[in-house]
């Protein structure tokens, strides 16, 4: 157990008016046996800081009872000193009527909990993982090339694995790319040969073509990768991975309704591009130069029967290919049939330039069928949305703008030797699962970053940028692993879970539930942590029925001590409610309620958690055995549009709750005494009603039957 803490209580910002600070001091000195107690009217100000600077010493924990831990983090931080913050400002002074007995009790209980936490907190000892700084890039298309070059130019060795005999991916097979610079009028050469030359001649990059990754084991900073070339296998130590395995065109064989396979003169946009690059646009059937070419958009995309998503680049590609037709065959006509013409951003200027061409015709419409005509033409049946009539378009060649399927849809590529399986987890369309909006690179496999069209459909220029971004993330994860720090979202956290394996029953829940696949099985079947894969969310700690998993500064033991630290009154008029809240979203919402001076029910004691997924259900049992009348679990939205920063935390909490309810039934405790609520960070306005309604419900239910035992 750590030493008794020094306790500092700030009376500023209304705390002194809301509660009796001298009584808090007496509590700290007496019951809590603090090593020292001081009150100050302005603890974060220059005088307060000076006071603290003179007192704090290495090894002795400090409890700061003042404002929210979300402010003044830099003020109340000293190297080598454990600091526990007690939020008397937002959670008491700003959200309770001043001077009430209930507010005083609330403040006292928060202080008790803070001291209890401090006594159960150790300074975390980091576990650096730094075997290799090399970056593995899988996929030698434009995003992989950009990633390899990016990492190498930043000073890291790179091994680039490409399954084809040559580098360049799809882009090397294209005639031109979309215009990338003002005035955005003309397709431009890809420059891919130059990029390939820079990669192959770079002293830090080792290129392996006709090669595939056979297995990937280990963790950030220390992956062991087996690469197979023919019958030859070689092993590489790498620190991080960029997954740039790209995309493939949607199988046109499934597009018979668009004429594919029914006429040789119905081709995919990929085949058409290759034809142009080869130098001559001609009909596959008879080699004749076509005079009329139709481009059919959304061939497979935006179609619930095929690819429900939009493949993003096909509209612009068809605009470009229509220009090819006009350049190579000046008297030819091109028709583009689209649902919505999608040329976002400056792509609009390119779109306008194509519209200026008198030989290119654009029509919003639904293609209802494509079939061979009697004279060797192709007939495209279009329900023209604008004219509102059925049009039969006779063309010599029809080009299907086929959509993009991510390689990860069915290819694990890395063949991870992870207990949770060989693939990076994907969303329903096969794209690697990520937070998607704010933190698009964060996959569910730490140190492995997807880039390019495997991540989202995107054009070549965007894919190159994406490769650079993924290279940065790879380098970052290597550096952070070397410092023993967690990566996003608990960036910099040095703590990691420790396992008291003597009591492990090998139930495997921790290894199965970890959202990031950080745990494998060791040879005895007990969990083996890969520290630098771990994001420190504590989901494993929440999962373990034996309570053998804890962090130096966050544990079931610590949380139990906190909820056992305060007295629970027997008075049925004074129920007590515990709110276990996610510290990422729900806790800041409580703060904002305070900042807006919204009144919260004083029966509720807030206990922050790293993630709702870290809530071990034993804590709920502990709470009821102590006489707590009700327990609120407040976390982030789960499901398809999950908001949990640890992906599955709140979902797992929900699942565990079902088991808790069965236990409650056995104990004859009403199910309503535990409630799980989804709350977004901006939903602070819901908190007054949410807390008071729950407390009122507990009053109606009457006291917890175990109260007083």
């Amino acid at each position: 157990m750590a030493e008794k803490p020094l306790v500092y209580i700030c009376s500023g910002c209304g705390i002194g008016e809301a509660v009796k600070v001298d009584q808090l001091c007496a509590l700290a000195e007496g019951e809590l046996k603090a090593a020292g107690v001081k009150a100050h009217p302005f603890l974060c100000g220059p005088e307060g800081r000076q006071l603290l600077a003179g007192d704090v010493t290495q090894g002795r924990p400090v409890v700061i009872a003042a404002c929210s831990p979300r402010v003044n983090a830099d003020v109340f931080r000293w190297d080598g000193v454990t600091v526990e913050r007690v939020n008397l400002r937002e959670l008491v002074a700003w959200s309770q009527p001043g001077g009430s007995q209930a507010a005083q009790h609330l403040a006292e209980d928060y202080l008790r909990m803070g001291v209890a936490r401090a006594e159960k907190t150790e300074s975390p000892q980091p576990t650096p993982v730094a075997t290799s700084e090399r970056v593995l890039v899988v996929g030698g298309g434009i995003s992989g090339l950009a990633a390899a070059l990016g990492a190498a130019d930043a000073g890291h060795d790179v091994v680039l694995v490409e399954k084809e005999p040559q580098l360049g991916g799809w882009v090397a097979r294209w005639h031109r790319l979309l215009p990338q610079r003002a005035p955005y009028r003309d397709p431009q050469p890809s420059g891919i040969e130059e990029l390939i030359a820079r990669v192959t001649s770079h002293p830090r990059i080792e290129v392996l073509t006709e090669a595939e990754v056979e297995s990937t084991a280990g963790q950030p900073g220390d992956f062991t990768v087996t690469v197979r070339r023919g019958e030859e296998r070689s092993e590489y130590q790498v620190g991080a991975v960029v997954l740039a395995t790209g995309w493939r065109p949607y199988d046109a064989g499934k597009l018979a309704h668009l004429g594919f396979g029914r006429s040789p003169d119905v081709v995919t946009s990929v085949a058409f591009e290759e034809m142009v690059r080869a130098g001559r646009i001609a009909r596959p059937s008879d080699g004749r130069v076509p005079r009329r070419v139709a481009f059919i958009q959304c061939a497979g995309s935006r179609d619930p029967n095929h690819l429900p998503y939009c493949s993003s680049f096909c509209c612009a590609v068809s605009l470009k290919q229509a220009l090819y037709v006009r350049e190579q065959i000046p008297d030819a006509q091109a028709f583009i049939i689209y649902k919505d013409l999608r040329a976002p951003g400056p792509g609009e200027l390119f779109y306008r330039r194509v519209q200026e061409d008198e030989g290119i015709f654009l029509a919003k419409g639904d293609v209802t069928g494509v079939h061979p005509g009697s004279d060797g033409q192709v007939i495209v049946e279009v329900e023209d949305s604008l004219l509102g009539e059925q049009v039969s378009l006779e063309v010599d060649l029809a080009v299907l703008a086929v959509g993009a399927v991510p390689a990860t849809a069915d290819d694990p590529a890395l063949h991870l030797r992870y207990r949770q399986g060989p693939a990076v987890p994907t969303d329903r369309y096969g794209f690697p699962d990520s937070n998607f909006i704010c933190f698009p690179y964060e996959t569910r496999r730490t140190g492995i970053y997807a880039a390019g069209c495997v991540r989202q459909p995107m054009d070549a220029a965007a894919a190159a940028d994406d490769g650079a971004g993924a290279a940065l993330k790879a380098i970052q994860s290597i550096r952070m692993a070397a410092r023993g720090e967690a990566v996003h979202p608990r960036a910099g956290d040095l703590s990691f879970p420790r396992f008291f394996l003597q009591n492990c029953t090998q139930c495997k829940r921790c290894t199965e539930e970890c959202p990031f696949g950080a745990l494998d099985d060791d040879e005895r079947g007990t969990p083996k942590l890969n520290p630098s894969r771990c994001r420190r969310c504590g989901t494993c700690m929440g999962a373990c029925p034996q309570r053998i998993i804890s962090f130096d500064n966050y544990s079931v033991d610590q949380l139990t001590a906190a909820i056992k630290s305060f007295p629970v009154p027997d008075d049925p008029e004074q129920p007590r409610v515990l709110a276990f809240v996610c510290e990422n979203d729900a806790y800041p919402a409580f703060d904002m309620a305070g900042i807006n001076r919204l009144q919260l029910d004083p029966a509720v004691r807030v206990v922050p958690l790293r993630c709702l997924g870290s809530l071990n259900v034993v804590l709920i049992a502990d709470a009821f055995s102590r006489g707590i009348d009700g327990v609120l679990l407040i976390g982030c939205r789960s499901g398809d549009d999950y908001q949990c920063h640890f992906v599955r935390g709140s979902e797992l909490a929900e699942r565990r709750l079902t088991n808790v309810q069965e236990t409650l039934d056995r104990l004859m405790i009403e199910r309503e005494r535990v409630q799980l609520v989804h709350l977004a960070i901006s939903d602070f306005d819901r908190l007054p009603a949410l807390t008071s309604e729950f407390v009122a419900q507990m009053k109606r239910l009457g006291p917890n039957p175990y109260k007083g035992f």
């Binding site: 910002c13 209304g14 009217p41 974060c44 220059p46 404002c67 979300r70 402010v71 983090a73 830099d74 990016g150 130019d153 930043a154 000073g155 610079r181 003002a182 005035p183 995309s301 429900p308 998503y309 939009c310 993003s312 919505d340 999608r342 976002p344 951003g345 792509g347 609009e348 306008r352 919003k364 949305s385 969303d427 909006i437 704010c438 698009p440 989202q456 995107m458 965007a462 940028d465 650079a468 971004g469 993924a470 290279a471 940065l472 993330k473 970052q476 550096r479 996003h488 960036a491 910099g492 990422n584 979203d585 800041p588 900042i595 807006n596 982030c636 939205r637 549009d641 960070i681 901006s682």
Partner: protein, 416 residues
């Protein structure tokens, strides 16, 4: 040799991402932000598409990453005045505008604002509400410190806030300061502003109170906005159940913004959801040229489209007139049905495009290429990397990618 520091101009989502990603690799990074808070435009959004999650959620994580990372140095209310030198040895002059509140002493206790006699239009709410001259920018502001708007403040002769502040944090005589930052590379993350809707007079903006822009709609829907999240007519506060959206208000128009602003279709779909979620009897109309929802955003479009209370009309709005009893009447032709439409609505929302906030000449000495559209792209070997909407109109995901990629390029350039 010590690795060189980096500068990020602008503390919106693109700039924050650039700075944090670079700092977590190990670099010292400065963020120079003009506003008194970080977060930029996204801090003023109610929700993000397509998940309808609040931007504060991701901002909170980013702010925590900054708070726990001593390598990130933030200057708010600061502007870059001049850039000298070149890659590897930039010398950047920053003007730190007076906050009139000492950030080391302000606790955000809020004693000052109630005694302040002066008011200012709240630019955070696009002028739809007022704050006192001394104000907290918003409830999740980073830094959580008050600031004084010098344009509204009555000055030292008033001084009521100075008396009210228990912590001696207010100094009404504070002067601008200049400081010089020596950095190896620069990211330009100056972002965007909504296209000036007063130039769209034919759509009634400026003439009728119930014609608003999409950024105003975000504030109406936000729980910390001027109406606490109630979507109402600005003319009389009545519930706005009938709402029409005009796409490409300014965008895709050679007389205004010749480019597509990329995000307005999705913003409108999202705002349609705000109305649908708030009012059972919602009646929503969207006037568009093309609905542009690339990639997996298509799912979001499909879900909104499936709601029978939303109708999509391909066509341009011809005329907007006041409606008896409040709201406006929108006249348009639906090109698909060929029908002329007269739609009475409570609110008409103009999906105004994104215009770059900073342009050529605004930052002397800054070596980037400005195109005719007003966006910036990098010059070879200049050491300046435009990111996010400074580069082209784009969404949050792409801004995050830009920032991450720029962090790499800055680190490459200055690798020791």
């Amino acid at each position: 040799m010590k690795e060189q520091s980096l500068l990020v101009i602008g503390g919106g989502i693109a700039g924050l991402t650039t700075a944090i990603e670079a700092a977590e690799v190990g670099r010292e990074v400065y963020i120079v932000e003009r506003e008194p808070y970080l977060g930029g435009r996204v801090a003023r959004m109610s929700r993000y598409f397509p998940k309808l999650c609040p931007p504060y959620c991701g901002l909170e994580i980013n702010f925590r990453r900054i708070r726990s990372n001593p390598r990130v140095h933030v200057f708010t209310m600061a502007e870059v005045e001049r850039v000298a030198g070149g890659p590897g040895n930039f010398e950047v002059t920053v003007r730190q505008n007076p906050r009139y509140v000492d950030a080391d002493r302000c606790t955000a206790c809020g004693q000052c604002a109630p005694v302040c006699p002066a008011e200012r239009p709240d630019d955070f709410n696009y002028g739809m509400s007022k704050t006192k001259a001394i104000y907290l920018p918003h409830a999740l502001a980073m830094p959580m410190k008050y600031a004084i708007d010098a344009r509204a403040c009555l000055g030292p002769q008033c001084g009521k806030c100075v008396e009210a502040c228990p912590y001696g944090a207010i100094d009404l005589t504070m002067q601008p300061r200049r400081l010089t930052l020596r950095v190896g590379a620069i990211a330009l993350a100056t972002g965007w502003k909504p296209y000036d809707a007063s130039r769209l007079a034919y759509l009634g903006y400026g003439s009728y109170a119930d014609v608003i822009t999409n950024v105003m709609m975000e504030r109406l829907a936000a729980v910390n906005g001027p109406t606490q999240g109630r979507i109402v007519r600005l003319s009389d506060g009545a519930p706005a159940t009938r709402v029409a959206f005009v796409q490409c208000a300014g965008s895709r128009d050679v007389n205004h913004l010749p480019y597509c602003s990329s995000i307005c279709c999705l913003a409108t779909l999202k705002q349609a959801r705000y109305v649908l979620d708030q009012y059972e009897q919602a009646d929503v109309h969207v006037f568009y040229i093309d609905i542009r929802t690339p990639g997996e955003y298509e799912d979001f479009y499909a879900r909104v489209r499936a709601d029978a209370r939303v109708r999509f009309h391909k066509g341009k709005v011809a005329r907007v007139a006041p409606a008896p009893g409040g709201g406006v009447v929108v006249e348009a032709e639906d090109m698909l049905s060929g029908r002329k439409l007269r739609v009475p609505v409570d609110l008409l929302v103009l999906a105004a495009g994104m215009a770059p906030e900073v342009g050529a000449g605004d930052i002397p000495g800054l070596d980037v290429a400005w195109d005719d559209l007003g966006f910036a792209s990098p010059l070879p070997d200049a050491g300046v990397f435009p990111v996010g909407v400074a580069r082209r109109a784009t969404d949050v995901v792409t801004s995050a990618r830009d920032g991450t990629a720029a962090a790499l390029r800055m680190i490459q350039l200055t690798a020791s």
